[in-house]
Symmetry: C2
Subunit: 636 residues, 2 copies
């Protein structure tokens, strides 16, 4: 049964929770980021990304500025802006896209080469800095952008540019005579090539992706003359495992190194495994999946426990205050989960995908849409975060834009492309993974079908799905792991549930209305006792949302509160942020009358008094100014 | 009432707990360190300290090797070796001391200059690198050594060398025409000058110390041409506050910067305050004392919360795993406490002095006497300590000797000079701060008196003190803060207690036998709720000792244990390490049957089972191989 790629234009999100965020992204952030990319936004650090292309195209004078991967910021914006047209077919954004693509085309060299950093600054170093040069990374993002732009607009101008670029890369890299036999320093192009393959059917994209995935870990690591292993040995955080180049994928048993790189690698590998129909590759990915989600993932769906190297560390090492948990890494985890669902529609992948999207991804952007977190810690003490060296990668508040601006455009392309996370399809079988309101048109062997979902998630476990289309389509509706009393009504009649890997199967007829409902208790969650940082603690989750306590609701010294696990968390509707479901937990606090400010230690037990903490969804933290925040509370 | 300096030779420790440690230091470590200092010890990193002096003296060829403060290692050894003669008047050590002093004398330049780093390596940079050069630091340690050597042997050969050196320093530094108006980059010489002043009565030593103490914080910081403030601004951990040069002492309200520097500074300042009889200086020191002991000190007497800068951070910031808590800083805290006791015999100073000595100082050295901790964390997970960047200053096990060998000789001089911490004296009033067995001869206005103490500390609160001497002497016996039912019997008759600042006053007659007794419960101790890292936790203390759990007794996952505060810790005698008082606490552990290795999160409450932890005194940790260690346990 053939996997079917659901094009991003086929699913338009229309949802009470997400609309406001998507609308903000579409109407404000996409234009805002365009201004930033053109250095026209006051108060934001100049990006120089468009200017680099103009210089490379001979349309402007000047030096390359920014990181060596600055091109990718524009690429991610093109992808996001293309998706934004689904929601608002803005002539200004269409014009901006054409302007960007026009400049990119003019910057492209006759042989197809396209990286402005090397065109402007280091023309004699092209394809000579494989480990850190990011040429293939930027090409990957541009290729994703090209596929997105064509899918939404039908215009293949950027895809033609990128095909020429890929043809150059195919000639440069490979196992043939005179070719560079290597793999990208930062994975990304693999998954982009697989998108291009699915969009065009041209196997040259697949073949290059398959080569990069399967070749990774071979020696030499990158170019012999880069002396990579020798030089990287001087910084243990940047050795071969940082690049997932310490072994072949099939020999990797643990997720290592730079978390974003790892997620993009596994995503591309899962794409290849699906096309290759290779169970050993799938098994290798499942080993890594188990390691990531079973030993190295925060409850928020964050990955990457350490700022130095922005990387994975060791099993069960999940510090809550000094973690990296980069927004882009959580996006990568969601991307990987989506590919695993295409390989194997099992609810455990969907549970993680949803966890990442509703928590560590969404926390990356402020409610006003213009402030961003790179790093998403699970606790914050502002004075400690500002002072301590081991907190130096933690920003205590979201900032407008980053010198290294990978996260902001990545969040925006994820929001604008959210529709692609809702479904996967194989022939006439359609899996609905997320109960996000949307209008979808699906092409099935029996004919086109439309699905219309209205949802109350994440606040209530209720969704109504209306089907129009031929018979012969099977819907697989996800039963989330947290769902209580999951039920489906079909045109008002209960459906007897038949579950397969956590999905309930329904074969709808034209016009059927399916009502999905399930309870979502606010629940205390505990971590494996092997996670030292969470021992003696609990957090609260409700449905897909992780909750946190903030100083704005509770004052300071959040760490002193001890939750009473015997008292179930109480749900409360709050007006905050346009209406949220809050949670209150009961417990105790120290009686501070027993503690003067200049006494550190006393004999136990110190008196405690009843207290409660008001919690809000984690993704909303730091929208009310600087203050303490805590996910894992002491608990008894 | 005049403070009386009790010479180190006047108090000989003879104590069931300390003898073995002192004997090991005297018989093994002092000779061992002499071999290390002469690069003759296999397996230890070569020190090169003696060789540097030989080269400077023209007795050998070669380059300077080691840190710029390498000279101080030899100086600390001379001090320790001098004290060791009190316990074992070894001809070999006497000969080694004479050899060292002979070479030092030959290395001294005609004008009195003596720093081998500058003599050999940077002769044109003498007195030009005040901030980091350590010339005054090394001179300070040599001056301390000279005073110690003369006190024990009567030989003033090193003191004459150092007087000439001090005369040079007096000519170089000061407020006069052509002088450098500054202060040391690393405080130390101030307290050494005060020792020399008390040993010789020559006010030139006092005057220089007073100048350095009072001048500190003036501008420019160090030499104008060092551009110190400008350059140090590039590393926030090495700015003026690192050197306690951010303000004048009287304007410093919090302990800042490098913890050893701070402790040595305050120690010298307290010495000066005593001689100057300046209550404003005492008040400034009390402000700092309150800040250190009330907001910035670990329960072990450790200070310095961060490895970067080896420094103080902010109030209540006391991470247990990434702390620095350098052995030398705890020694410095004990030194400072002793000076505060001379200024103001209040038990709160003695409680801290004892806490530092029995915990963070003693943990610096292994039971075999030849392995040392620089850093003394309050918890260790070996895999995390080995892996994580923020643990890179933590050694998971004691090592033989350090490239930067400040701690080992510092511990040894403290052990061999322990007698100097037992008493302070003002005229005919003698305060006994520590119940350490010893034989002391004190010179009082009424005539010489001898005190002989036999003690069961730290295992039992019992000490017998026999007095021989004139009447007119008043003994002030410390009532430790942890003592229960403190009582004194005089020749078998109860003494009615008259307490003054935590000391019981007794006026003994010749031949009196005073029996001191008090209970010491093993008690749970909690930290101020402002200390986030200790919230929801407790540790166990008994008398002066802090206890810890080790993997050797309890297996792994110590962090998962939760102590039951309602169950008093149970004391048990154990054969370990020649006999110790251990402690067992009751509580619960997770039922690991409910947790497979690949599941990170589950809804609460996870099942727990009754469990207990066996604890040993903290200072003994890591004497049974690599393993987990924990001071602060989860508690309820």
């Amino acid at each position: 049964m053939q996997n079917v790629e659901i094009g991003v234009g086929q699913v338009k999100v229309n949802d009470g929770f997400w609309n406001r965020r998507i609308q903000n992204a579409v109407e404000n952030v996409v234009p805002y980021q365009w201004r930033v990319l053109n250095d026209r936004e006051p108060g934001a650090e100049p990006s120089h990304a468009m200017q680099n292309y103009r210089i490379a195209a001979g349309l402007a004078e000047g030096e390359f500025q920014g990181f060596q991967f600055q091109d990718s910021d524009l690429a991610k914006w093109i992808e996001a802006a293309s998706y934004s047209l689904i929601y608002d077919d803005s002539p200004e954004i269409r014009a901006a896209l054409r302007e960007a693509i026009d400049v990119i085309g003019k910057a492209q060299q006759p042989d197809g080469y396209l990286d402005t950093h090397y065109i402007i600054k280091k023309p004699d170093r092209k394809w000579k800095e494989i480990a850190h040069g990011h040429e293939l990374y930027c090409a990957g993002h541009l290729l994703e952008a090209a596929v997105a732009y064509r899918a939404v607009t039908g215009d293949d101008s950027l895809l033609r540019i990128m095909e020429k670029n890929v043809d150059l890369i195919r000639s440069v890299f490979g196992k043939g005579e005179g070719q560079i036999d290597s793999y990208p320093g930062h994975e990304e192009i693999e998954l982009a090539l697989m998108k291009a393959f699915r969009a065009t059917g041209d196997r040259k994209y697949y073949e290059l992706a398959e080569y990069f995935i399967e070749n990774r870990g071979s020696r030499p690591a990158f170019l012999e003359e880069e002396r990579f292993l020798e030089l990287s040995g001087q910084n243990r955080w940047l050795e071969a495992d940082y690049h997932q180049a310490h072994a072949k994928l099939r020999d990797q048993k643990t997720a290592e190194g730079h978390a974003v790189r790892a997620m993009y690698f596994y995503t591309g590998a899962a794409d290849v495994a699906l096309e290759k129909n290779d169970p050993t590759l799938k098994a290798a990915l499942d080993t890594l999946w188990k390691n990531v989600t079973g030993r190295r993932m925060y409850v928020t769906g964050g990955v990457g426990s350490q700022g130095d190297g922005e990387r994975f560390t060791i099993d069960y090492d999940l510090p809550n205050d000094t973690c990296y948990t980069e927004t882009c890494a959580a996006i990568g985890l969601a991307m990987w989960a989506l590919r695993m669902l295409r390989l194997d529609p099992d609810v455990r992948y969907a549970d993680v995908m949803e966890r990442a999207l509703y928590n560590n991804v969404l926390s990356g952007i402020s409610e006003d849409g213009e402030h961003y977190f790179y790093v998403n810690p699970l606790m914050l003490k502002p004075d400690v975060a500002k002072y301590r060296r081991d907190h130096e990668s933690v920003e205590p508040e979201r900032v407008k834009w980053f010198g290294c601006a990978c996260c902001p455009p990545n969040v925006i392309r994820t929001l604008c492309g959210l529709g692609s996370y809702v479904y996967t399809q194989r022939g006439g079988d359609v899996w609905q993974h997320l109960y996000i309101g949307n209008e979808a048109v699906l092409h099935t062997p029996a004919g086109d079908a439309s699905l219309s979902t209205v949802s109350s998630m994440p606040w209530k476990g209720r969704a109504q799905i209306v089907y129009h289309g031929p018979s012969g389509v099977t819907l697989h509706l996800r039963v989330p792991s947290y769902a209580k009393d999951f039920a489906i009504m079909r045109n008002g009649e209960p459906v007897s549930l038949e579950l397969e890997q956590g999905y309930a199967r329904v074969c709808p007829a034209d016009g059927d209305c399916l009502e999905v409902s399930f309870g979502m208790d606010a629940q205390f969650v505990q971590a494996n006792p092997r996670v030292t940082e969470d021992c003696g603690k609990a957090c609260v989750c409700r449905g897909p949302l992780v909750y946190c306590a903030e100083e704005a609701d509770n004052g300071t010294l959040l760490g002193d509160f001890t939750a009473d696990l015997a008292e179930p968390p109480r749900v409360e509707e709050r007006e905050l942020f346009g209406g949220i479901t809050g949670v209150t937990v009961s417990g105790t606090r120290s009686d501070m009358a027993g503690w003067d400010e200049d006494t550190l230690y006393r004999t136990a037990p110190a008196a405690r008094v009843p207290a409660s903490l008001r919690l809000i969804p984690y993704f909303l933290w730091n929208n009310r100014g600087l203050g303490e925040m805590l996910v894992w509370m002491n608990a008894r």
